[in-house]
């Protein structure tokens, strides 16, 4: 499982910055069947959280309608130089974490 994130290195104070994320994950809904008709066991990503300088930007409660390799894009307001932490959790309890630093000038 690899997380791919796109965060600009630098932003001006007050600038609205787009953040794009993708987690390589089957996000198996349990609806899909193999050629024997047996369902693939369900294991979806149920939670995605992005924090910026310790404060939440987005906190998502996810269901089976999200595609495999969950992709999310959203916007934050650049306020101070700080760390962005991205965290995904799936139903097996696995946690995936990625970090990035945004420099505010």
């Amino acid at each position: 499982m690899t997380a791919r994130i796109r965060v600009p290195k630098q932003a001006r104070r007050g600038e609205i910055v787009e953040i794009r994320t993708l987690l390589e994950h089957r996000n198996e809904s349990g609806w899909r069947r193999d050629d024997q008709g047996k369902a693939y066991p369900r294991n979806i990503v149920t939670r995605f959280v992005c924090t910026y300088a310790g404060e939440e930007v987005v906190n998502a409660d996810l269901r089976r309608g999200i595609s495999s390799n969950p992709y999310f894009a959203f916007f934050l307001r650049a306020a101070e130089t700080g760390e962005l932490v991205f965290r995904w959790q799936d139903e097996s309890g696995a946690i995936f974490e990625e970090k990035a630093r945004l420099e505010v000038v």
Binding site: R26, N59, G65, S67, F75, L76
Partner: protein, 163 residues
């Protein structure tokens, strides 16, 4: 060769197009009418669960989605809400709902004060041609809703093995 019966693809498709043109909620092509009504009930129940029974107002929410998707495996959508996103007047959550999926709610996105724009993009699994709804919770306690119709050629339930 089997001759197309009265419920052939052509007939249901014409009916579907006619229904859409009449401005009615699109008749489900892959589901029977009974399942269609059940799905509609699920959507309404999912909306009520979010709004605690309040009826959301139409407007302020724009759903950007392709009019036609080749497959329902990963349909890219953007939910945009008209809001200044200030400390006093902001969107606190965006919910994405799918009227004909086996599970009506796809995701609930709580937006923190660090969020700079009331907008979320993601990719959805879609089981049939249907409307995608965006529901927004405002800091003043009001709820707003918008939607877009997506025609899906190949539903996500028949998706092929992902390599």
């Amino acid at each position: 060769m089997r001759k197309p019966g009265p419920r052939s693809r052509g007939t249901s498709r014409r009916r579907f197009v006619a229904g859409a043109a009449a401005g009615a909620l699109a008749a489900p092509v892959l589901l029977g009418a009974r399942e269609g009504r059940a799905a509609q009930a699920d959507l309404e129940a999912a909306i009520r669960a979010i709004t605690k029974g309040a009826a959301p107002r139409e407007g302020r929410v724009t759903v950007e989605a392709p009019a036609l998707a080749e497959t329902g495996n990963a349909v890219q959508v953007a939910i945009k809400v008209d809001s200044p996103m200030t400390a006093e007047d902001r969107v606190t959550a965006i919910h994405i709902l799918l009227e004909q999926n086996p599970e009506a709610d796809a995701g609930h996105f709580a937006l923190g004060p660090r969020c700079g724009r009331a907008e979320i993009s993601t990719r959805l699994r879609m089981f049939s041609p249907q409307r995608v709804y965006g529901l927004a919770d405002m800091s003043d306690g009001s709820f707003w809703i918008g939607s877009a119709h997506v025609e899906v050629t190949l539903a996500a339930c028949v998706d092929i093995e992902i390599k």
